[in-house]
Assembly symmetry: none
Homo-oligomer: 239 residues x 4
DNA sequence: AATGAATGAGAGTTCATTCAT
DNA sequence: TATGAATGAACTCTCATTCAT
């Protein structure tokens, strides 16, 4: 409920947040009990209420915190790109990396509609806001086609969320249970998805690459699978 | 637990499923209690266990049932389209209509990760399967670009889900609560989204329209924003 | 929460009410826990909430029920009196008898200010109403002096409550703990109190006795139940 | 736990007692938490246990303190009276004034049966002791009738408590909640109550007045009901 | 087929109290 | 003297599920 006023208190609150993230990721918000969280944090149950007024309060603090961090990661990634196309690619790369490292955010937000609609909307809207502003600037700069930034931003959000869910969070097995080691998106899927998005937006490099016949997939460094070259080459041929 | 053996039993089970859908839509799966469902169905609590072995069983039956119906609606919509582009458009139209009419499906599936991962994956995979098969055929027929049908199908699923969430289910106000009357997607947003998808897929008509610069928005009446003019250029030619 | 719909349910609710009265009498409302009540009633904790929506609901039902019964007892007692003075005496006699038998009412009502102010006021006001109506009629009939029925009724209520607390409920010892066997008011105290009240009201017999210098307290023996016949026998002689 | 040894300590303890009185008055003993009390006193929770060994200890210290002060107020009031009748009247006046100013005492004592029966009995017995001694002396002096001082003292206590509760503490509205501004007893009710008591005791002036039939109510202004005329007949003669 | 009473584990939360600083 | 973090037992209440009728 109150902010910690001593170092010890700060540490305790941090322990609780970390434990909560872990427990939420494992069991989800509803199934996670305060007692399991405090147990994992190795504090007494009563201690929880020193720093959070309720389970919901914890939830909202955690979502807001993770949301801030995922947006930071995404914009840092985008900033790393030398051009619009690279910025898009790197933003998504960071998004998936964050998802792999913090599955709690992802899962808990999807569960949040009935828990805290406000927190859920805030989460999506803030990410979309980032997309939208980037798209608006890019359109003004002629780097992308004449898309509606708002609608496109929501569409991008959807693509990222669904691809993330399918390829980052789902276990490879077919048993429907969650494996412990969430894997990042495979390179070929990632490239395919980026190409999908860039065609949808009419991103310049993509178009240019299509025009020049260059294979734009060479521009990224960390590709691990050889199957991705073909990913967006077709665009030119199609047009 | 068993299938009803009499007409009366069938009606009772149907009442329970309808009540469950309504209660789930209002409160979500976790918050919905058997007693609230039986109350709404106007049967005694014990009656519930005549037809469902557990709350989870009900959940899975309901999700599977709604999934079957939404896929039917989508494929009926797509079949109505005279060409590929129209099929895409009409499929989405039905998807959003179904979402507006059955918010329970939507909301409950998002909550389902920790309730029944199997049911959740099955739901998405079945829809994606439909997309994928359609895309595979369309690509073979040269109606769309050279996209990976699997990845593109997941991306489409993501776009549909997110646009549906944002524009069909969220109330217009900013209060974060859910209004009672879910509204279908506004026309201009719908057009913009369809155009986004068609550019991403390289749907034939779309590309052609983009090339000729024609404005085909006259085909539907209620478009409101100027950003949509180019979105569906192909339709005219198609018609 | 709901009324029982079967015989078994009725019995269970009755068991709960009886157990609650006993536990409230022993420990008071605040200290009594639902689990102690259900334990005493030999039902599961959850059963409690079949018939009461909360601890407070139980409290209010119990207070209202006991209030109804104490007023019945008092008015039955008063009706037994052959004249005004006897009616007063017998009403008080029943009040103390009820207090001895149902200490829960007494104790719980005094605790109720912060629990359910409404229930507390209702309790007192209903009893006072009975007094007030009786006094109003008595004054009209010239059986008592010219007192304000409302204020006098509250004063009577106060006398009864305090004498009851002191002489019925308090243990004889000085240790401040509660004995198990609450004793009814000793005869001499009872007579003294009745005389006090009758002087205050100017009850006919009392005044007459005062005038003639007789000591009306001598008229009765120490018996409590069967000895009452003669209790107000003098009244007639006095008048 | 210990008595404060410094000026600062004394102030802190005083702050705690004042805060406790306020919180008890607002919420009652059971609902009042140490943390709310220390919060209101603007000290840390741990500080509480420097001066009180437990919540119960605080309770008993507070009750004893307030008891001392109410008895002082009452006996000061009584001493102001020029004769027996006036002493009675002024004692009650102070009692109600104290009740209005310190509702905590009143309310908390009624709640105390299960909290600290000892403190409760002590509270009542000390006040009754004062009444009893006064009545004993008055009877010896022939100022009142031949009443049993002990029983009459308890009856007076009851009258005072009930009238105080009804007319001082209860809000005028019918909503059953407590208003913030407790009002002292209205004049007419006060007069009526004093008359009731004086008739019960056979206070000299009262009897005399009754005999002469004089109306002495003109002495105070706000009398509202006609039923009070005869109530304080003696006063005139006394003045 | 249908009822509704009964269960009991487990949830979130509060609180008087202790203790290291 | 004063702080505030930490404790853990105990509380009220909910719920999916079982069972006798």
């Amino acid at each position: 409920m109150n902010q910690p006023r001593t170092k010890r208190g700060e540490q305790t609150k941090a322990k609780l947040l970390a434990a909560a993230e872990a427990v939420f990721a494992e069991q989800g918000y509803q199934a996670a009990s305060i007692s399991r969280i405090t147990e994992r944090a190795r504090v007494a149950q009563g201690t929880f209420y020193l720093y959070f007024s309720s389970k919901l309060d914890l939830f909202e603090q955690l979502v807001d915190d993770l949301n801030r961090r995922v947006r930071k990661a995404m914009s840092d990634g985008a900033a790393r790109g030398a051009n619009r196309a690279e910025a898009e690619r790197e933003g998504f790369r960071e998004f998936f990396a964050f998802t792999a490292e913090h599955p709690a955010l992802y899962r808990v937000v999807r569960e949040a509609e009935y828990v805290s609609p406000g927190a859920m909307r805030r989460h999506y809207e803030r990410i979309v806001e980032g997309y939208r502003d980037g798209l608006t600037r890019a359109r003004a700069a002629g780097e992308i086609g004449d898309v509606d930034p708002e609608v496109a931003a929501w569409a991008l959000m959807g693509v990222g969320e669904m691809i993330g869910m399918r390829y980052v969070l789902w276990p490879t097995g077919d048993d429907g249970a969650f494996g412990s080691g969430a894997t990042p998106v495979p390179d070929d899927v990632f490239d395919e998805m980026v190409a999908f998005v860039q065609r949808a937006l009419g991103t310049a490099a993509s178009t240019a690459a299509a025009a020049t016949g260059q294979d734009p997939t060479t521009q990224h460094s960390t590709s691990q699978h050889s199957t991705t070259e073909r990913a967006t080459a077709h665009v030119k041929e199609d047009s």
